[in-house]
C-alpha cells in the first residue's frame, strides 16, 4: 500500500524525461504541449467555421468565447473590458484545455504542476499591475493602495497590508489551480490503488471495496470534469477582477 502510494506520488511529481540534459521536458510539460496543440487545432478549425449561422465545432467555440467575453469579461469589467478579452480568453482556454486533457488517461493536466500555474499567475500579476500603472501612472497607482480617508498613522500599515495582499495574489492564484488539479489526480489514484489491492488480495472486504472504488472512480471522474471547468472559470474570473481593480485604482 505505502509502496503503491509512493509510486502514485512519484508518477504525479514533476519528472524530467532526461535527468542528464540541462533542458529537458517533463511529464507535465509534455502533456501541456499536447493540450496547447489541441487548443490551437480546435481554434484553427473553429475560426474557419465561423459563420453567421453557426454549426458544430464553430458553435461550441462561439458559445465558449461568448461565455468568457460576456459572462466573465463584460460582467466583471463592463463593456470597456472587452479590449482585455484576448488576454483573459487566452488564459481561460489554456487552463480549460489543460484541465480537461488531464481527465483523459494517461494524460496529466498541464495545469497539475506549479511550474505552469505559478508562471501563469505571475503573468497575470505582471499584466494587471502593468495595466493599472499604464492607466493611472505609477505614483497614483501606488498611492491607490491606501484608501482615501485612511488616518495618517494607519497609512503605513494599510500600505504594507495592501502590498502583501497583492504579492500573495500570484501564489493563491497559482496554488489554488495546481492543488485542485493535483489533488483530483491523487484521489483518482488512491481509489485506483484500492481497486488494485482489492483484486490482488481478494478477501470478503475486498469484494465490497472493489465495486465501491470502481463507483468512486466514476463519480470522481465526473467530479473532476466539473472541477476542470470550475477552476478554469475561477482562475479567469479572478484575473478579470484583478485587472478591473487595477483599472479603477485611482478612484478610491
Amino acid at each position: 500500500m505505502t509502496e503503491k502510494i509512493g509510486h502514485l506520488l512519484h508518477e504525479l511529481s514533476v519528472l524530467p524525461f532526461s535527468e542528464s540534459a540541462a533542458f529537458s521536458l517533463t511529464n507535465y510539460t509534455f502533456w501541456l504541449l499536447v493540450g496547447i496543440a489541441l487548443m490551437i487545432v480546435f481554434f484553427v478549425v473553429a475560426s474557419r467555421k465561423a459563420s453567421l449561422v453557426p454549426s458544430g465545432i464553430g458553435n461550441l467555440a462561439e458559445a465558449a468565447v461568448d461565455f468568457v467575453r460576456n459572462g466573465i469579461v463584460v460582467d466583471v469589467m463592463g463593456p470597456e473590458g472587452k479590449k482585455y478579452f484576448p488576454f483573459i480568453g487566452t488564459i481561460f482556454f489554456f487552463v480549460l484545455f489543460n484541465n480537461l486533457l488531464g481527465n483523459i488517461p494517461p494524460a496529466l493536466p498541464g495545469t497539475g504542476t506549479v511550474g505552469t500555474t505559478f508562471t501563469w499567475a505571475i503573468i497575470v500579476f505582471i499584466v494587471y499591475n502593468g495595466i493599472g500603472i499604464k492607466k493611472v501612472g505609477l505614483g497614483r497607482y501606488i498611492k491607490s493602495f491606501i484608501p482615501s480617508g485612511t488616518p495618517g498613522w494607519l497609512a503605513p500599515l494599510i500600505f504594507l497590508l495592501e502590498i502583501i495582499s497583492h504579492l500573495l495574489r500570484p501564489f493563491t492564484l497559482g496554488i489554488r489551480l495546481f492543488a485542485n488539479m493535483y489533488a483530483g489526480h491523487i484521489m483518482l489514484g488512491v481509489f485506483a490503488i484500492f481497486a488494485a489491492l482489492a483484486i490482488e488480495h481478494f478477501t470478503p472486504v475486498g469484494a465490497i471495496v472493489l465495486p465501491l472504488s470502481f463507483l468512486m472512480q466514476i463519480i470522481l471522474r465526473l467530479f473532476e470534469l466539473a472541477v476542470a471547468v470550475l477552476q478554469a472559470y475561477i482562475f479567469t474570473i479572478l484575473t478579470a477582477v484583478y485587472i478591473s481593480g487595477a483599472l479603477h485604482a485611482g478612484e478610491h
Partner: protein, 166 residues
C-alpha cells in the same frame, strides 16, 4: 516541498507557451469568432428593430384603415339618409302637385260645365221667348203691344228659372 517549487524548465516552457498562445489567440483565433458574434448580435438587433418598425407601421395602417372605414361607413349612411330625405320631399312635392293639378282640372271642368249650362239655359230662354211670342201672337193676333210682350216674357222666364233652380 519540492512539489510547490516550480522548476525553471517548466516556467520557461510556460512563458513561451503564453507568448505563442496569446499571439495566436489574439491575432488569429478570437477575431473571426468575436467578429461573427458581434455581426450576429447586430443582425439580430437590426432584425428585431425592423420587425418592430414593421409592426408599428402595420398597426398605424390598420388604425388608418379603421378610421377610413368608419368615415366611409358614416358617409354612406349620410348619403342614404340624404337620398331618403330627397325622395321623401320629392314624394310630398309630387303628391301636392298632382293634387293641385287634379284640383285645377276639376275646377276647370266645373267651370266649363257651368258655362255650358248657362249657355244652354240662355239658348232655351231665348227660344222659349221667341216661341211664346210667336204662339201668343198667333193666339191673340198680334194685339198685344211691345211692352205687354216683354212683361209677359219676364214673368214666364222667372217662373221657368225658379223651376230650374229647384
Amino acid at each position: 516541498m519540492e512539489l510547490i517549487i516550480p522548476t525553471t524548465v517548466e516556467m520557461a516552457v510556460n512563458v513561451v507557451a503564453f507568448i505563442v498562445l496569446f499571439i495566436f489567440m489574439a491575432k488569429f483565433a478570437f477575431p473571426p469568432i468575436t467578429k461573427m458574434l458581434d455581426e450576429r448580435a447586430n443582425k439580430i438587433r437590426e432584425s428585431l428593430e425592423k420587425a418592430e418598425d414593421t409592426r408599428v407601421e402595420a398597426e398605424r395602417l390598420l388604425e388608418e384603415y379603421k378610421v377610413q372605414m368608419a368615415e366611409a361607413r358614416a358617409e354612406a349612411t349620410q348619403v342614404i339618409e340624404q337620398g331618403r330625405k330627397v325622395a321623401e320631399s320629392m314624394k310630398v312635392e309630387i303628391l301636392a302637385k298632382a293634387r293641385e293639378e287634379a284640383e285645377a282640372e276639376k275646377t276647370k271642368a266645373i267651370e266649363a260645365i257651368k258655362a255650358e249650362k248657362s249657355a244652354a239655359v240662355g239658348e232655351i230662354q231665348k227660344q222659349v221667348a221667341d216661341l211664346s211670342v210667336a204662339v201668343a201672337g198667333k193666339i191673340i193676333g198680334s194685339s198685344l203691344s211691345r211692352t205687354d210682350h216683354e212683361a209677359l216674357i219676364d214673368k214666364y222666364l222667372t217662373e221657368v228659372g225658379s223651376l230650374h233652380e229647384n
